[in-house]
Assembly symmetry: C2
Amino acid sequence: MNAPPNMSDPLVLFMPSGKRGRFPKGTTVLDAARQLGVYVESVCGGRATCGRCQIEVQEGHFAKHKISSAKEHISSPGPREARYAEKRELLPGRRLSCSATIEGDLVVDVPQDAIINAQVVRKDADSRVIERHPAVNLRYVEVPEPDMHHPLGDVDRLKVQLQKDWGYDRLEVELHLLPEVQKILREGEWAVTAAVHHDQDEDAARIIALWPGLKNEAYGLACDIGSTTIAMHLVSLLSGRVVASAGASNPQIRFGEDLMSRVSYVMMNPDGRQAMTKAVRLEISKLVDRVATEGGVERADILDAVFVGNPIMHHLFLGIDPTELGGAPFALAVSGAVKARTDDLRLALNPGARLYMLPCIAGHVGADAAAVTLSEGPHRQDRMMLIVDVGTNAEIVLGNRQRVVAASSPTGPAFEGAEISSGQRAAPGAIERVRIDRATLEPRFRVIGSELWSDDPGFAEAVATTGVTGICGSGIIEVVAEMYLCGLISEDGVIDGALAARSPRIIEQGRTFSYVLREEEPRITVTQNDVRAIQLAKAALYAGTRLLMEKQGIETVDVIRFAGAFGSFIDPTYAMVLGLIPDCELENVSAVGNAAGTGARMALLNRNHRREIEETVRRIEKIETALEPKFQEHFVHAMALPNKVDPFPKLSRQVELPRRKVLAEGGTQAPRRRSREEREARRRR
Amino acid sequence: MNAPPNMSDPLVLFMPSGKRGRFPKGTTVLDAARQLGVYVESVCGGRATCGRCQIEVQEGHFAKHKISSAKEHISSPGPREARYAEKRELLPGRRLSCSATIEGDLVVDVPQDAIINAQVVRKDADSRVIERHPAVNLRYVEVPEPDMHHPLGDVDRLKVQLQKDWGYDRLEVELHLLPEVQKILREGEWAVTAAVHHDQDEDAARIIALWPGLKNEAYGLACDIGSTTIAMHLVSLLSGRVVASAGASNPQIRFGEDLMSRVSYVMMNPDGRQAMTKAVRLEISKLVDRVATEGGVERADILDAVFVGNPIMHHLFLGIDPTELGGAPFALAVSGAVKARTDDLRLALNPGARLYMLPCIAGHVGADAAAVTLSEGPHRQDRMMLIVDVGTNAEIVLGNRQRVVAASSPTGPAFEGAEISSGQRAAPGAIERVRIDRATLEPRFRVIGSELWSDDPGFAEAVATTGVTGICGSGIIEVVAEMYLCGLISEDGVIDGALAARSPRIIEQGRTFSYVLREEEPRITVTQNDVRAIQLAKAALYAGTRLLMEKQGIETVDVIRFAGAFGSFIDPTYAMVLGLIPDCELENVSAVGNAAGTGARMALLNRNHRREIEETVRRIEKIETALEPKFQEHFVHAMALPNKVDPFPKLSRQVELPRRKVLAEGGTQAPRRRSREEREARRRR
């Protein structure tokens, strides 16, 4: 594209990127895409054998012209393309961009799902399409045979050919391949497929694997190492599809339920760090087996792996002692993105497979928060977006294209059901939904594992296997919110003992009162201390959010995203009733499930996303709540239910109205039904 | 140096590089050197604590000025420099360039031996001074402590500080360091020394090791893996000095004496390659122990390692099957330079230590020949230089600044004493020097291990322990040349049976005659077959040389260098008498000993030499003798003793004269005495 375009040349528009340019008639669509920097997959390099470069030609308007018949503007399928379509099947409307040439103005759609091996593809819960530009690509080449007049080594001729055919500037070769190259070249009769890793920051690319002949499929892992759960996706690097997913409990739980107890374990046990590193890597390896088996994939075909996790999971996975993260100044050993070979962690994928860990934002805001940020993209939009990921700490990110700020707020584990008298982790048998009749103060509830309410016929049978074991995070939020809406709790969080006269469920316990949610054994009550714990947690979360809003100089946010497991299960209405989150149009509040996993998949499938999140994390302003005097002030105000109005003198009518509506209608909305995938994810927990 | 220099600023000339520039008064000499690209070592970064940046200020003329007193033109030692001199000793005339400032015109000498730990330095045989610019440097930095307001990880702050203090563009960190960084930073109270590896071709540098506080010494290995002998030097990366050297037999000898028998072993035994790779790596590891012990150095302080070897040794060391090298087209698995971590070969140096192998030139011309080329530098000069390295094959390199050509010629093992009736490898007891009395035809000889001639008094006692066991390569060349000079052999190589009448040493054996060099047991004779074997070998060597001379279009060479063990022991006079090498002024013919080892040291100490040899090898024109019809023709001509004149019609008088002189005086010159080091090297063999 150095010469100025000839204005009589056809104009080609690529979708969804929107890139456009003029090209002489006869240019292949693939060449045009390359010249414009549009990523179109290709393994065979234009030989019409891999079928990865499929595109669709759209009919319709384009610029000022109406393209009456797209067919006239693209070449008819030639013999090579016809042969491919015959042998491998090409969906109607699909063309191979390496063979189809431009003959007139065109709108070209680059589908992100050039499916080759249909049998291994399955529909995934999170079907977000990620534009692909992976760090690892398959490159087919035909290498000249050895020549005594020009005694370049086999590897060196392979490099030269790859540079020539695929435009690489500099190429390195992994040491472990050197003993294999000669055999592979001869087995493939001088035709081989190389897996080439190209880091987004480096000039040099690197040959990491090699196969004889045409290799037309390669995979990557996206893995979110949570303190409780490890979730893994096996993804085709060529089609972008999720081929298999699996989750497992983090085996480190046996060393300590929450993060701080794991840090303590390391501090108390000389080989504690090592034991936990080994445990998590072993579990990850088992998960690899599971997704590989499910996807019908060899471990050796997995060439890239992206991991995310909170700072302590991140450190333990990498074999780093997390002790420094246990106290101020919460120094990360490494905050930048980590790049390595998976072999260095003995993950037993392809020997040349690469590992990438997203950067950590701060000592309490890890690579998982970075992945959520990448997934939701506050930095990619103009609206002011609040992202909340609640665990033992809440990670809070607030920002837009101009500026992003982040903080961690010490909510404590109340939202996870800990420190609550009848609390438990979200697991089958835990109460997750609660409604209290405004008149009778009688409750009804639902437990994880059943779709029935406790007053539905057949409830007892439905929960016979799990029982009703306790109350989880979303349940405790709903019951406290419902108690508040019924007037059982005052604005300052006191359970009103006077109501004991109206309902036997209000009982005196020492100097305070409790609400009996379930009378049968195990008896489940909400005590004054439980309410206090929730107040403290929500005050911390809200104060952190408020602090970031102040940093941004804003009074309202445009969009709220709840990330993580907790976020998936709480009802945003109740979160707003209790004042966990600032006012926002309800339609703009949503749970984003395992957004960390989605962010990991994005970094896996598109190396530009790696650069994007590294730059974004560098730019994010990190707010340490412990160092901010205003945090305490906000915290005190936010102890009230829902929140004291004083910090928000300028709440606009536009925002206040839906809030009132929520308050008025609170409890009447049916909680949304969980999708099948959510239920499955929950069952794995 | 972006601003134009102020012509009134002092002019500074750095020696030996000759680089010069003007700098404002008060500029430190170190800063001036850096701005001119003059490599001056520095670990502490200008804190006057490491003492590595020593320079000398010369008196004398400079440009058109006479610098009457250099002292006036450089600052007086300040308190920091004085403190260093007091604590660590600074030789008279030496200054620390980081503290001394320019106050007037100066000639600065950059010594290549800023000795810090004098006790570990020893004089080495090959005392060539190599200008240093190593791939691995020690860099002292003071890292800011963690800051909750800017929660960069410890590693990330280390990187930022290294970039700031030392001007690195991009820095990566080895994965294995991540778990260590926090401990080391705290142990050093935020002052640490990093070892930074900077590949000559890459933008990014890489932190490969880290120590608390100031680390002021680091080492590298230069190792030549010969088929027979492995030679290793341990070198200070900071002073350039060879700290210890050691040699050992290549344990692969038990799998096959020569290269081809080792290839056969691999072809015949499924685990043959593995066994030989293991054997050579083990022996190298033992050598590391020896040099480390001798030098008083920890293995963990060895940070870089350069290896050279012929293609088969190169492949076996890297774990590559050498079978392809056993037959045409002699395809190397890899010909370019190999870069890796020594840990990938389990060499147990510092876990971050780097490995560099020089490129191979062709299937028979390996990284050892590349190292010899680097050492002798035909490509760096205008004279036409011939380099000959004789083993089972002779590697021949011929060229100058304009053009370099190379070939391998199939001399066979005769020069190594194999295929000779009484032949043996050069080892104690082997005859290495022979003189035959022109009149009586009586011989006298010397054996390896004794300085006495066989007719000297006390010879019998001197060789009592070794005995006289056979005749080695240099001995066989001398005896054949002497036989020719005495008229015992005709120009076509036939032993003259008629002389049996004159001397009982001429004996009939079947249809040919032999010369009895030693009558006692073991009887040592030179048979007609022996003469033929030498004729074939020297004809091959000469024909290869001649072919290259033709490619270059030249009739004579300016300089001849004999590399390798064989070259060290033969007498150039006899080599010329026999016609092994073309005519050349005798004073320009020399043995260069282990030039491959020297080339390895150069690549170790100066990364620019790595680029230099990679570029040179790419440029070298490789001639495959087997594909050149003229080779056979030259071969036939060169069977004669010394060589048939016809191919050289234009031999100038200038060249012919010294040749006649050699022929006339042949045998009268005393062979040069071997240095102590050579004798030691020989004893190790």
